[in-house]
């Protein structure tokens, strides 16, 4: 009972935010039916969310085949297996980009450079993967993944070092690095690294470096690596001296300095670690795809911000939040087919979830329970130090 109360206190604000976002999203879907069906369809949200759920889990609660809607819970085991595998595969990189933002929060840093770190990590993984394509699988996969991690780490190190030694705020510098990475990589792939054959510009096949499939059609090794990393990150942040230092500098940089810690060192280290997580996410995406396409429009970088905030910057929360967003991504295509709603609706719902999370003071008043604050306290440090140039 006590455990349940504690769990509710932690999950209340995120849960209510998600429900309100879905509610507001359903109003948007009803309005959208004016454009897609030329008439208001009040049942469209039900159809849309139902197909979203079915695409993500294989579960079905209502039957909409004959125009009338009836309650008919059913599950197709084969479809469920496929759907859940899709959800897990979509969630894995989001956990990593979520950690890339969440671990930064812990040190009072706001890493919005996930997109660039994903691009650089994925690009290097694809490049190295192409080179080691004919090596034995364990060697090829390890080298490609490590290349991705290294690329991301380097691309996180840059804004970390800039902040620590020049005072350039990471909110601006990481965004500049995002744009920079996408321009430069497109040019490199188009002019130097593309292979002859495919109709669009892309790098060579990664061959044996492709993400090994462990179960189902796309249940890849990455899912297990991600689980291990979540556990490791938890231990690092909450059970090691370094984690303590990171949390201290996030909570109060000057206190950390007086206690003999080096905020500069911690900022560089944390940003590098964050970049490594995002770089790994990029590596997993590219090694699952099998090559690096010149135009790699990824949204998992920004998705990581939602994941980290929804998961209150805690590794376990990040895992759960990524599962939710992963399910939405996995289910969205079937929703688009069934309800004719553009797939981008999940981006809107994601934004709405964040909106309600931001207004959590209102939500806490609304539910009147013992709901806990969601916003990580260290974020205060980010806002307070915005524009400051000394570390």
């Amino acid at each position: 009972m006590r455990f349940l109360r504690r769990a509710w206190a932690l999950a209340a604000v995120p849960t209510v935010s998600i429900l309100l976002a879905l509610l507001l999203g359903s109003l948007l879907i009803i309005a959208s039916s004016l454009a897609t069906e030329k008439a208001l369809n009040l049942l469209l949200p039900l159809v849309a969310y139902e197909s979203l759920l079915q695409g993500a889990t294989g579960l079905s609660f209502i039957d909409v085949t004959s125009g009338a809607i009836s309650f008919a819970p059913s599950i197709n085991p084969e479809q469920a297996g496929r759907a859940i595998t899709n959800t897990l595969a979509a969630a894995a990189p989001l956990v990593l980009t979520g950690l890339a933002v969440g671990v930064g929060f812990k040190a009072g840093l706001f890493n919005i450079g996930g997109t660039g770190q994903v691009l650089v990590g994925g690009f290097l993984a694809g490049l190295v993967g192409g080179v080691v394509a004919n090596q034995p699988v364990p060697i090829a996969v390890t080298m490609a993944i490590l290349a991705g991690a290294l690329g991301g780490a380097l691309y996180g190190f840059i804004p970390g070092a800039l902040k620590a030694f020049t005072g350039a705020h990471e909110v601006v510098s990481t965004i500049m690095l995002n744009s920079l990475a996408s321009f430069v990589i497109v040019g490199l792939v188009n002019d130097i690294l593309k292979i002859v054959g495919p109709t669009f510009a892309r790098t060579a096949d990664v061959g044996n470096a492709a993400m090994p499939i462990v179960f189902g059609r796309n249940g890849n090794l990455g899912i297990f690596i991600v689980l291990a990393l979540v556990a490791l990150t938890y231990v690092l942040i909450y059970r090691t001296p370094l984690g303590f230092e990171i949390r201290t500098v996030g909570a109060n940089p000057s206190a950390a300095r007086y206690a003999g810690m080096s905020p500069r060192k911690l900022i560089v280290l944390t940003m590098t670690l964050c970049g490594m997580f995002a770089g790994l996410a990029g590596a997993f995406e590219i090694l699952s795809l099998g090559y690096y396409p010149a135009v790699f429009g990824t949204t998992i970088g920004f998705g990581g911000i939602t994941v980290a905030l929804l998961g209150r910057a805690h590794p376990v929360g990040i895992l759960l939040a990524a599962l939710l967003l992963g399910a939405m991504r996995a289910g969205a295509p079937s929703m688009q087919i069934t309800a004719k709603i553009p797939i981008e609706i999940i981006d809107v719902i994601q934004g709405l979830i964040l909106l309600f999370l931001a207004a959590e003071a209102i939500i806490r008043r609304l539910i009147r329970g013992r709901a806990e604050k969601v916003t990580p306290g260290e974020l205060g440090t980010v806002s307070r130090t915005y524009g400051e140039t000394t570390v």
Binding site: T166, L180, Y386
Partner: protein, 361 residues
């Protein structure tokens, strides 16, 4: 000069300088820079209005994008309802004017959301801005895909004064350099000057700065901190809205997903570079965007001599890399300037901190 051009490697530098001087004084590099710097400068004015009163606004990007979409859609709707001939003044049509007003309205509305979240709800201001950016990107992307607007209301024309004016010796040259753009670009210079004077010479400016530096003290002398902050954030939205209008009604004639292309963040860098003054931020915007203007100039009209041959060689061998290098330049330059120059800038003291009246809970 010819001797200098012939030097190994260093010769390239001199050739480039000669090209640069030529570009500034004879071709339209200045006008082009001014035009490209407009959304950055407007975004930066929004940032100055916000941050001077103590509110961090990293949502300028999302405000611009929303305004660009709303302005474009409004213009298209009006244009289809009444396709009118272009007016003499900047080629303005009712559609374009309604579009600009709608964009401003959208900018103010999103700003109101930011103000409410940061001032009344006392949400984390960085989060509030992030929410605005992510929601704006998602919502405009979704609606653009859903509605698939087919038409376009066109764009404003550049300023056309009577021909004789351009023939005047000095005035003609100044007109060509600085006043040969659309209405939004042209008005930016006025906004910057007015805001600079207002911020440092008016009662509003003094109150704004007081609230941003020491809200408690401002409150003690009877300034309504909450009201000043609300007003500044919402008025800042006017500039973000205009920047959005520039994107779809002056520079382009269509809307593309994510077309603000991180300009809102370059604007934030311009605010920091300009040390929270309108004129300084404008200078930052010009500095960051001169690289893009120069890139366009070099690509359309390569420099003469060895340098030109060298650049054309690269362009022929690596066309995409060549183009993308120039595309990346403003972002790279912003990053370098931010890291190198910022060292000495000090933000308004109370920036980022919600204000709680004493005794209130």
């Amino acid at each position: 000069m010819e001797v200098l051009f012939g030097l190994p490697i260093l010769g390239f530098v001199f050739q480039f300088l000669a090209y640069l001087i030529d570009a500034i004084f004879t071709t339209n590099l200045t006008a082009q820079t001014l035009q490209l710097a407009t959304p950055i400068a407007l975004g930066a004015l929004c940032g100055v209005m916000n941050e001077r009163s103590g509110i961090v606004n990293i949502g300028i990007e999302g405000m611009m994008l929303t305004a660009a979409f709303v302005g474009f859609m409004a213009a298209v709707v009006v244009h289809e309802a009444m396709p009118v001939d272009r007016g003499a003044f900047f080629g303005a049509t009712p559609a374009l004017i309604v579009g600009v007003l709608a964009a401003i309205g959208a900018g103010m509305l999103v700003s109101l959301l930011h103000a409410w979240l940061s001032i009344s709800v006392r949400a984390d201001q960085i989060i509030s801005g992030t929410v605005i950016n992510i929601t704006a990107l998602g919502l405009t992307g979704y609606l653009n895909r859903l509605i698939r607007p087919s038409g376009s209301a066109g764009t404003f024309d550049t300023l056309q004064l009577p021909g004789e004016l351009y023939d005047l010796p000095l005035i003609g040259w100044i007109l060509r350099m600085f006043l040969s753009s659309g209405p939004i670009t042209t008005s930016v210079i006025i906004f910057v000057i007015v805001l600079q004077i207002m911020l440092f010479r008016s009662r509003w400016g003094l109150r704004t700065r007081a609230v941003g530096e020491h809200p408690r003290a401002a409150d003690t002398v009877g300034i309504d901190v909450i009201r000043v902050r609300y007003r500044n954030v919402i008025l800042g939205g006017v500039f973000a809205g205009l920047a959005g209008a520039w994107l779809t009604l002056e520079f382009n004639a269509s809307f593309q997903n994510g077309m603000s292309a991180n300009r809102g963040f370059i604007a934030l860098a311009a605010v920091i570079f300009g040390r929270w003054t309108p004129i300084g931020a404008f200078g930052g915007a010009l500095l960051f965007m001169v690289s893009e203007a120069l890139g366009i100039a070099i690509r359309s009209n390569p420099p003469p001599g060895d340098l030109g041959v060298f650049l054309s060689g690269i362009q022929a061998s690596y066309p995409s890399l060549y183009n993308n290098f120039f595309g990346a330049l403003p972002y790279l330059l912003t990053l370098i300037v931010l890291a190198g120059v910022v060292g000495r800038s000090i933000p308004p003291a109370a920036v980022g901190q919600p204000y709680v009246k004493e005794g209130a809970t």
